[in-house]
């Protein structure tokens, strides 16, 4: 195991730099991730936000962050991060800011912007080797507008714009693979339910200069239709069934940090799907065996190819 300051939950910081009382949905799986990120990176952080659910974290005159915040637009948060990072570098180089007063620059974006309208700006920032963090909270749809289909919506899901019997016919875009193709300093998938794994990944990334990219599994009670209290349970199931692969790309290699039990010994994907209203049409009025089989097969095929 790599050297790490985070061996167990006890080692996680509890600074609570992200204040409570924000208008996020009860049970939002993304909030825990943002809290951990902020606590680990510390106060000297500026969050650069793309339009999405989390835009409403800071509404005039309040902000829940101990750090700073810059809302930009839906498509160009990475470009906003570029401007801030470059300006800080200029100020430091010209002696107008002490190097001690440098800030971590963190793009905060949902999957909608990350996979679609913001992909060009993200690709550009990675290609330029921008020294920044990128945190995508993936609730698998355009959440803030009422959960419409995004490029990250999984096969078979129903959304506010997907009412066909089989759900979304396409496949979830593999954003991690797209990022890895750019050869960034770091890329990782995380979950708020695996905080030690998250902390270690952030720690690994923090030691490197360049683009440090994260996708966080984000259960969404409002969009996925489940009781807020089931959020953590759903996160656990997503990892245990193998549906959400916890992995990282660093030093040219992809490795999986929390692989599920082998096929036959891990829970079937159905257990995870059953708990969510957005997959209810796969069970009622009749089981949609074809889509259910697709979804299980997709997971099994993935892990079969993982070394």
């Amino acid at each position: 195991m790599r050297e790490t300051a985070y061996k167990s939950m006890k080692d996680l910081p509890a600074l609570h730099l992200l204040g409570g009382g924000t208008p996020m949905c009860a049970g939002c799986g993304g909030l825990e991730v943002v809290r951990l990120f902020h606590d680990i990176l510390g106060e000297n952080t500026v969050f650069v936000n793309a339009a999405g659910c989390m835009t409403l974290l800071a509404t005039y005159p309040y902000t829940p962050f101990r750090g700073s915040w810059m809302y930009t637009s839906m498509a160009s948060a990475p470009a906003g991060a570029q401007g801030i990072r470059d300006a800080l570098d200029v100020l430091i180089a010209k002696g107008r800011l002490s190097p001690r007063d440098d800030l971590h620059v963190v793009v905060l974006t949902g999957d909608g912007a990350a996979n679609g309208i913001g992909l060009s700006a993200t690709s550009g920032a990675i290609e330029r080797g921008l020294d920044f963090y990128y945190l995508c909270y993936d609730n698998e749809g355009y959440g803030n507008t009422g959960y419409q289909t995004s490029a990250a919506t999984p096969h078979g899901a129903a959304t506010a714009t997907e009412h066909r019997p089989g759900g979304v016919p396409g496949e979830k875009k593999d954003l991690f693979a797209i990022w890895v193709a750019h050869g960034p300093a770091y890329a990782g998938t995380i979950s708020g339910d695996e905080p030690v794994d998250l902390a270690r990944k952030l720690e690994t990334a923090k030691a490197r200069k360049g683009p440090k990219l994260f996708i966080a599994f984000t259960p969404c009670p409002t969009g996925w239709h489940f009781e807020p209290k089931e959020s953590v349970h759903l996160s656990r199931l997503a990892v245990k069934t193998g549906l959400w692969a916890l992995r990282e790309y660093v030093d040219g290699k992809v490795r999986h940090t929390r692989p599920p039990a082998p096929a036959g010994r891990r829970p079937p994907v159905e257990e995870y799907l059953r708990l969510q209203g957005r997959f209810a049409h796969l069970f009622q009025p009749r089981r949609n065996e074809a889509v259910l089989a697709d979804l299980q097969h997709g997971v099994d095929a993935y892990w079969e190819h993982v070394v």
Binding site: M70, Q82, A87, L97, L103
Partner: protein, 408 residues
């Protein structure tokens, strides 16, 4: 130091003299030469500035705005389709109240797609919150870039500023330009002061945040409007200081041979120099005619324009832009301004020409002057006119025949 240079090079000199910290870039004809010049100087060490190529103009404007909000002096440049691609951020960044300068090298907008100039692109930004200045000569380009930094950074203003120069006719055309000395510019333009906008530890800030409800929203929009209006005085003061230091006078509205004029052309940009030549020719023939040239377009220089046009009996507004279904933009703004001031100029005629760089020849200026004079005598406002000749129509029909596969 006096040098023969293109409008693009003059813009680059303005950036260099202003000791800009950061230039996010993206290429587009006809402005690309500006960023190439800056890049060249960066390579030789003559420019101590960070240049970054973004992947779109929308991103470029975002980076410009956030860098300014972090506390550095920023410049960027674009044209036409690029300006439109950035349009969301052209509306967004003024609301951040962090000043920077954007040079637009104007170019006609698709469709049809073209490379040559008119003013539809920059005028699409007129309601964005950016201030707007229009250059007619390469000297004016350099000077207005310096004035734009001073104006935008004025504590009563704090808004981003567009300086417009015409593509091809100014961007690629060499004219003699006086380059002021760096020390003198430093006296005119003090070091950048973020004026409380920054990202620093120990003083966290949340910028560009959402507001809930029309009450706070309206407040911030009204504030930006008032700041834009404050720019009228700020521009005058800056221009006076500029004149003292550099012995070149810039006005919000330039008047040329208007002293005893009863007729006037109203025109912006490089083509206004054609109108000046027309004024000279007409004056030689005894006409009492002048040119009124708005330099400042946002904020709209109402008072200066009214003063310039008050004595006129007939005005020809020549728009190098066209709002389909409405006509020329400047024509509408002039009419509204005169009416609001209670000035009932008998004839305010609208003409549209120069679209996509189509030339406006001396005969057309004569025809427009005659048209206005006739209208003054008849006491009736003529309908707006689109400038085009029979020969040009024949020419275009010839192209159409080829496109349709017919023999010419």
């Amino acid at each position: 130091m006096r040098k023969l240079m293109t409008g693009n090079e003059a813009a680059a000199w303005g950036v260099r003299l202003a000791e800009v910290d950061y230039v996010p870039t993206f290429p587009i004809t006809p402005q690309t030469e500006i960023i190439e010049k800056l890049s060249q100087w960066f390579g030789t060490g003559e420019l101590d500035c960070r240049l970054v190529m973004l992947e779109s103009e929308h991103s470029m404007l975002t980076a410009a705005g956030t860098a300014a909000a972090t506390g550095v002096r920023v410049f960027t440049a674009t044209s036409s389709q690029g300006l439109l691609y950035a349009m969301e951020m052209l509306y967004t960044t003024p609301g951040w109240r962090a000043p920077f300068v954007l040079v637009n090298v104007s170019r006609g907008l698709a469709s049809p797609i073209t490379l040559e100039p008119d003013h539809n692109d920059v005028l699409a930004a007129r309601d964005s919150g950016f201030l707007q200045l229009h250059a007619a000569t390469c000297q004016e380009v350099l000077d207005l870039v310096l004035l734009a930094f001073r104006l935008g950074e004025d504590p009563a203003v704090r808004l981003p500023v567009i300086v417009n120069l015409d593509g091809f006719y100014l961007s690629f055309t060499r004219e003699p330009v006086e380059i002021p000395a760096s020390e003198d510019v430093r006296g005119f333009l003090p070091p950048f002061d973020g004026q409380g906008l920054h990202f620093r530890p120990g003083a966290p800030s949340a910028q560009g945040v959402a507001v809930l409800g029309g009450v706070p929203y309206s407040y911030f929009r009204y504030e930006a409007h008032l700041a834009a209006q404050a720019a009228l005085t700020a521009f005058q003061q800056a221009a006076e200081d500029f004149d003292r230091r550099f012995k070149r006078r810039h006005s919000a509205v330039e008047t040329y041979r208007c002293d005893d004029a009863e007729l006037a052309f109203v025109m912006m940009g490089a083509f206004a120099t054609k109108a000046k030549a027309a004024v000279d020719r007409l004056r030689d023939e005894g006409w009492r005619i002048g040119l009124v040239r708005p330099v400042l377009l946002r904020p709209f220089p109402e008072q200066a324009l009214v003063e310039a046009l008050r004595p006129m009996r007939g005005v020809a507004v020549i728009d190098q832009n066209l709002a389909p279904g409405r006509g020329g933009v400047l024509h509408g703004e002039v009419l509204a301004t005169l009416y609001q001031a209670g000035v009932h100029t008998p004839i305010v005629a609208g003409f549209v020409g120069g679209l996509g760089g189509r030339d406006i020849v001396p005969e057309e200026f004569l025809a427009m002057a005659r048209s206005v004079r006739a209208a003054v005598n008849a006491g009736a406002n003529p309908p707006p006119r689109l400038l085009y000749t029979a020969e040009e129509l024949q020419q275009t029909q010839g192209l159409q025949a080829v496109a349709l596969g017919n023999e010419v």
